[in-house]
């Protein structure tokens, strides 16, 4: 079931009513509704893969209980290893099996050895990259004794399968989300209203911006060989807009939906394209994933306390694996590599926390020239990396960049991009104006008439120019 579908528009109010009708003094009653709703939500795509989520849930629930009872370090390590094996095994099998075989084939082919792999061509279950990381978070947090294992299977199942963030995040931490399932939830009307506003903004980004620019992006990346450099540049910019609006739009809807049910999810995007360097970008882009890798990979490897070379190794490991997490293709690894190589100088110079806790042009309307330059420079680097993310193969990416940089600009008619560029500009302007707020429609403090006009404007925008043929979210393929 997709957020931008009629089915969800009916599903959500029904779940909302049933959820708040349940005995609010008993969180288990509400949790049961969440579990049932989540399984219906996920099963809407393909009910065959429900068994995987149930299996993953059961395995980590048992591992958690085992970790709670086990006192010996060896036993605890074995149990954690079991959880890692189950979750990463699932992920590896469904996502990377064919990729490794094909990569081996290419490598052997380079040595003149013919190898024809038996590919499985397994369908990738939607959301597997997200929920496996979420359940791993529980096992690791229990292992580290950051949280107590829960005996409440329904609450745990609700935590694993929580439908707003099940298929595309934010990837929540057990110590952050699970406790919310174990306590009473009270209805907070202001939180719920802001949740609705955030959902609306997410739908605008997805249906009005991302889906509208998609056709232009597809056109440029399919036909770049016959287009000039200007087209390639615009196409790359529009892809940056598309992937941001698609993914952050989903996160906004997920977070907003959760707030309707009384839950607080972590923020996943904080206006990353206004970043002044790559380290700030990574503190604002897919925050839940970078945080996961930081806490469960970077820090256990030694993190910032390791020696210089170990630290650099740890940084590159995080970026490479982060790229690899996105998909079974070397293009994603190169995407991660580019970001890692850009990040390392900041680490070496000790400037990777320079912009922590601040926003660009804080308290001002426009950035200072130096800030603007820093933002543009960072954005340019991000754009180059996005080419690899979008390309079908490394050859495609290099060829695209070569054309973009070598062909003359301004030779062709770029009028077809006027509408996508306009909606992109409007979206970026709105987010710039609201960059101190969690989302662009955080307008609770506005006068009533202005809020109502904005709400009707948003609805009109979605209905009048939004893509109403529901197009799948990009991150579902990860």
């Amino acid at each position: 079931m997709q957020f931008n579908s009629l089915a969800f528009a009916v599903f959500l109010p029904v779940v909302f009513v049933l959820y708040w009708m349940a005995d609010r003094k008993r969180p288990d009653a509400q949790n049961a509704i969440v579990v049932i709703a989540s399984y219906v939500f996920y099963g809407w795509w393909d009910s065959r893969f429900l068994a995987l989520i149930v299996a993953s849930t059961a395995a980590d629930y048992c591992v958690g209980l085992g970790l709670g009872r086990a006192s010996k370090k060896r036993t605890r390590q074995l149990l954690l290893g079991l959880s890692l094996a189950c979750n990463l095994g699932l992920l590896g099998f469904f996502k990377y099996y064919d990729f490794f075989l094909l990569s081996a084939q290419s490598a052997l082919d380079a040595f003149g050895i013919q190898y024809v792999p038996q590919l499985l061509r397994v369908i990738l279950p939607v959301g597997i990259s997200f929920y496996t990381f979420q359940t791993l978070s529980y096992s690791i947090d229990v292992y580290r004794k950051q949280i107590e294992p829960t005996r409440d299977f329904v609450a745990f199942a609700a935590y694993v399968s929580f439908f707003p963030q099940l298929v595309a995040g934010p990837i929540e931490r057990a110590h952050s989300l699970l406790p919310q399932f174990l306590v009473r939830r009270t209805f907070d009307v202001e939180k719920a209203k802001d949740g609705l506003r955030q959902i609306a903004w997410g739908l605008v980004k997805k249906m009005v911006v991302a889906d509208r620019v998609a056709a232009s992006v597809d056109h440029v990346f399919a036909n770049y060989a016959s287009l000039d450099g200007g087209h390639a540049a615009i196409g790359t910019f529009l892809f940056a807009v598309q992937i941001y609006c698609d993914f952050s739009g989903y996160s906004d809807i997920a977070i907003g939906t959760s707030r309707l049910l009384g839950f607080d999810l972590m923020r996943n995007f904080a206006y990353p394209y206004f970043s002044r360097d790559i380290s700030e970008f990574w503190s604002r882009w897919h925050i839940s994933l970078s945080g996961w890798f930081r806490d469960y990979l970077y820090i256990p490897l030694g993190g910032g306390r390791a020696g210089r070379w170990s630290r650099l190794r740890n940084v590159m490991a995080v970026f490479l694996l982060s790229g690899f997490w996105h998909g079974a293709n070397w293009t994603f690894v190169i995407w991660g590599l580019i970001h890692g190589l850009a990040y390392i100088p900041l680490v070496l110079l000790g400037r990777h926390r320079r912009y922590k806790g601040s926003v660009a042009a804080e308290g001002r309307l426009l950035p200072r020239p130096a800030e603007a330059f820093a933002m543009l420079r960072t954005f340019a680097l991000v754009l180059v990396a996005w080419v690899f993310f979008r390309a079908d193969s490394l050859a495609h990416a290099f060829d695209f960049l070569s054309h973009a940089l070598s062909r003359p600009w301004g030779a062709g008619d770029t009028g077809r991009y006027a509408a996508p560029l306009l909606v992109s500009a409007i979206m970026l302007t709105a987010e710039w104006a609201q960059r101190a707020h969690p989302h662009a429609l955080a307008i609770a403090g506005w006068p009533g008439w202005a809020r109502r006009a904005t709400y009707y404007g948003v609805v009109l925008g979605i209905v009048a120019i939004g893509n109403l043929q529901h197009v799948q979210f990009i991150y579902f393929q990860f």
Binding site: F16, F187, L196, R451, V463, L468
Partner: protein, 401 residues
């Protein structure tokens, strides 16, 4: 949504606030959908098919909701289980059931179902799966641009196997409401004041049908607007936008330059037709063009080579595979002038009746097509001097068996 409510407000108050907010857009949506419902545009396809099969003289043409020809024609094929079925693009939509008397009631024109080679292959798959019943005879219309080396093979509605009626889901209503809102006051008025069917005259269902254009119960298409114009002028006009002749001259759209015939596609065409032939007789039609279009195509660089190759090779390849083929560049084969064409590439009923006659005469003696009464067909042609239509719409109403 006021910010003055306290945090302890109940969820139901939020629902009430949302419902109040949604009332205005809801009313606006209803105001847009109601006229579309009134004129029949919002009528579910299944209901239209029911009524046409029940004998109502309905002329069906949606304008604001998607036409969804795959849904409409597929439902007719499944419900009717015709003995003779015509498939192809719009260029075969002038086969009228009455031409196939005495088995007119067992004949259905599913023209519009196929937009390319991928659709033909999808149809073969649906037939093999039993999803679409196999008739005794398929008459398959093939269009010349299907076999180019750079032909578009993207899935269309048929090959994507999507049979959800737009009317049955909310996004369809929003899309249609948007199109209707942008259509302008003249269209709104036409939809709001559409006359109801009286069960006697050809009854328009759908905003497009209000203009006189639409699908008859036998699946053929009525060019009401052009027939009205033709009645006044009695001259040929390439009424497409842009005209077909211009497309050929400027090498655009169907006439985009192609290096040549794609032998792989020709092989795919043959294979798809063979799959249909496994269960039915298959006759192939390469519909003719108006003479100006053929003349320009033969002379234009980048088009002529493909055009000549297509007409020289494709019919022979298909005949070698045992198919009966009607392949003519123009209507010269039946001595018809360009007035017999609705536009540069859509022949009228009179030309199509000659194509049917040709197929009949080439068909094996035991073929179901041989039951067509050629004398009756000739009398139909003789009953009027109209170059475009030979079957009287008011009298024609294909009833279900």
């Amino acid at each position: 949504m006021s910010s003055s409510s306290t945090s302890s407000s109940s969820p139901w108050q939020l629902l009430v606030a949302v419902a109040r907010f949604a009332a205005l857009p809801g009313l606006l949506l209803a105001a847009l959908v109601l006229p579309m419902w009134w004129c029949g545009d919002a009528l579910p396809i299944a209901t239209v098919v029911d009524r046409q099969l029940g004998g109502e003289p309905i002329l069906y043409g949606r304008k604001y909701y998607g036409q969804q020809l795959n849904v409409y024609k597929s439902q007719h094929l499944r419900r009717r289980k015709p003995t003779i079925a015509i498939v192809g693009s719009s260029r075969v939509m002038q086969f009228r059931a009455k031409m196939f008397a005495p088995i007119d009631e067992e004949t259905y024109n599913a023209g519009g179902l196929l937009q390319g080679l991928a659709d033909l292959e999808a149809l073969a798959t649906l037939v093999e799966q039993g999803n679409v019943p196999a008739p005794k005879v398929w008459i398959a219309g093939i269009d010349f641009w299907w076999l180019k080396q750079n032909a578009d093979d993207r899935p269309t509605w048929l090959s994507a196997h999507d049979e959800r009626d737009e009317v049955m889901h909310g996004a369809g209503h929003l899309l249609a409401a948007r199109r209707f809102a942008l259509a302008g006051p003249a269209e709104w008025k036409s939809a709001m004041f559409a006359s109801r069917c009286d069960g006697v005259k050809l009854c328009p269902v759908g905003a497009y049908a209000l203009t006189g254009d639409g699908f008859r119960a036998d699946g053929s298409w009525r060019y009401g607007q052009f027939l009205e114009e033709f009645g006044r002028t009695r001259t040929y006009r390439d009424r497409e936008t842009p005209p077909i002749e211009e497309r050929a001259r400027h090498r655009t759209r169907q006439f985009a330059p192609a290096p040549g015939l794609d032998s792989a596609r020709v092989a795919r065409l043959g294979a798809a037709l063979e799959r249909l032939k496994a269960r039915s007789e298959v006759f192939v039609v390469l519909p003719p063009h108006a003479s100006p279009v053929a003349a320009v195509a033969r002379q234009t660089d980048g088009v002529s080579a493909y055009w000549d190759e297509y007409y020289a090779e494709v019919p022979e390849v298909l005949r070698a595979q045992g198919f009966t083929v009607s392949a003519h560049e123009t209507a010269a084969f039946c001595e018809m002038a360009d007035e017999a064409f609705f536009d540069g590439m859509h022949p009228g009923e009179r030309v199509i009746s000659h194509v049917l006659e040709e197929l009949h005469m080439q068909a094996p003696a035991e073929s179901a097509l041989r039951t067509v009464d050629l004398e009756g067909l000739a009398m139909l042609r003789a009953s009027t001097d109209h170059p475009l239509v030979i079957v009287d719409d008011e009298a024609a109403s294909a009833r279900a068996p």
